[in-house]
Symmetry: C2
Subunit: 351 residues, 2 copies
């Protein structure tokens, strides 16, 4: 009774059942129909007795079907990514796939390394939520026939499907809401747009949007990595600036909302009198008085759509059809942080 009661193999089961590898293989593949009732029972019994489970490694080797979906995540601690991952996982499971997650910590080097690993395991499809620089590698992967889905952001030249938010529309929703609520002077805070397409779209739309609406506005792209000094300065300057219209801050995503809320709280700013609104709904947004207004992304749906996309390409062999983009609408969740203390609702004013 030393150690390895060695995992049993196909041959052993075959032997124990007094039959051949082929039949056992058929039993565990999808061809039980072709086996006589009696043989099926003998195999089932033997397999159970030996505690046999097919070796996916071997399977993947022969058939080329690894039954693996890979996911490249820039930051596994980002609630958005996790929420999306949850959607992805459920669909994978429902279709008999397993998920292999690789977290890249926003580091291009790790991204490249992980991508290599994922392909080494012959993932059949890949979901990417990162923006390092392995464009070339990704493109090659796509060429080799591995379906690719980008989540939340496009990637330069990579010919892949994309699932994400309708960013432009979301910004419009935000601006409309803020304007209706009575805010006229806006500060938009984002992380550096760098290569993240969604950030770029949001930023540009903000610029256009305020112009169209005759709002006063200004946008800052900040790292937020180190201390919040930069952010504090920016916000301080914004608050101090002379102006007549009520002021509001718009946060480009959940991380920004968190950082901005911290700063505002330190500065003892009353939310509402200075407006605050963010893209991404977080579990605590309702808890910070008087509640932070957000635009919720349908993260679960986004994750599900991503994998469904993948599977479709995988199974229907429309592998070469042109890239498809799926954009979801954000849902406005209005809270106190965009309610002006003594605000006259303009729609109520007599003409």
């Amino acid at each position: 009774m030393n150690q390895n009661p060695q995992r049993s193999t196909l041959v052993e089961v075959a032997h124990a059942a007094g039959t051949s590898k082929t039949s056992v293989s058929r039993f565990f593949g999808d061809e039980r129909q072709r086996l006589s009732q009696e043989l099926q029972e003998r195999i089932a019994a033997a397999a159970k007795r030996l505690g046999y489970h097919p070796n996916q490694m071997a399977r993947g080797l022969k058939g080329g079907r690894s039954r693996l979906i890979g996911m490249l995540v820039a930051d596994i601690r980002n609630p958005y990514s996790v929420a999306v991952m949850h959607g992805i996982e459920s669909v994978c499971q429902a279709h008999g796939y397993s998920l292999m997650v690789a977290n890249t910590n926003n580091d291009p080097a790790q991204e490249r390394r992980h991508l290599e690993l994922l392909t080494a395991y012959r993932v059949e499809g890949l979901v990417v939520n990162a923006a390092g620089s392995p464009d070339r590698e990704l493109a090659k992967l796509a060429e080799q026939g591995t379906p690719l889905v980008l989540v939340d952001r496009e990637l330069g030249e990579v010919p892949a499907d994309m699932v994400g938010l309708d960013d432009a529309r979301a910004i419009d929703q935000a601006l409309d809401h803020l304007q209706t609520a009575g805010y006229g002077e806006l500060l938009y805070v984002s992380k550096p747009t760098s290569r993240v397409s969604s950030r770029r779209v949001r930023l540009e739309r903000f610029q256009h949007g305020i112009a169209e609406r005759g709002l006063v506005g200004e946008a800052h792209c900040l790292t937020l990595d180190a201390d919040a000094a930069e952010l504090d300065d920016a916000i301080g300057a914004f608050l101090v600036r002379p102006g007549t219209a009520p002021k509001a801050l718009l946060c480009a995503n959940g991380q920004v909302t968190l950082a901005v809320t911290r700063v505002l709280q330190q500065r003892n700013v009353t939310l509402g009198s200075v407006g605050l609104m963010g893209i991404d709904e977080l579990e605590w947004c309702a808890l910070v008085p008087p509640g932070i207004t957000t635009l919720a992304q349908p993260t679960d749906a986004i994750g599900r759509a991503a994998v469904e996309n993948l599977l479709q390409r995988l199974e229907s062999s429309q592998r070469t059809s042109p890239p498809r983009r799926t954009h979801y609408q954000a849902q406005l969740i209005p809270r106190g942080s965009t309610r002006l203390p003594f605000h006259h609702d303009r729609s109520q004013e007599s003409p």
Copy 2:
């Protein structure tokens, strides 16, 4: 230029480099030293030209080394689990392992299914943060020689290593803090302990702890799944109960803290005048005025320790040594929610 520029294989590289499989294998294994400089260059060139990457499936098949670590998570959306996962991931990566994550949604059936999958891919080690019921399966796995590490909770009969919080000590810290802060009547809220050892330990320690300290206290185990009615009732009753000492709530984990905070806010309770404290530090705890006091778990360290444990057993072949338990200390982060409005600090009182 139709489709599959077929991934190239070892033999092809060998051929292109004018050498044998063996040498190429050595090149990509850890035996470059044994090859002449010139051969190395030829192989490198050929491999690069063909875009060759070793097939992990095939590798895993022969050597039995899948280079895969599996993780079974009960709830991938739980911030605690994600934080731990982050630690796990980094160590895996540092040692050339990949992580395969399986989310079980707290469903025993899925747990079993996923466990089977993970073993089908021949993960070399398994981290478990779930408490369904596949004790038997897990035990078998362990017997078969796959190292196992339990995170946060023990599992019945399974002979596995365990990494988690020093739960008893954490509760002591909490009680000490609350008592010192002047609270004398406590309500402990937890999810049902069911099979989760950490929950059980915390609950029991709470019961003992209040007795030892002469505090008045009461504990509730609630599902929190559906609406918060149950919780609201419990808290309502607690607040209304006649008593002289200041009251405080102690939350057994982050999920509970979230739910409790919601209820308190709905009831317009001023935090501090009613104390609030929770195990698990969450990013928003500082943001809900006047700040929620927490006991932070060193999640990253816990994750790292888990994998390091695994790798040790894997490499040092101390596979059979008795299970080891590693307990980390929680760190108290005092905030306004446990500061009584007109509190006399007892340590300052003259004797």
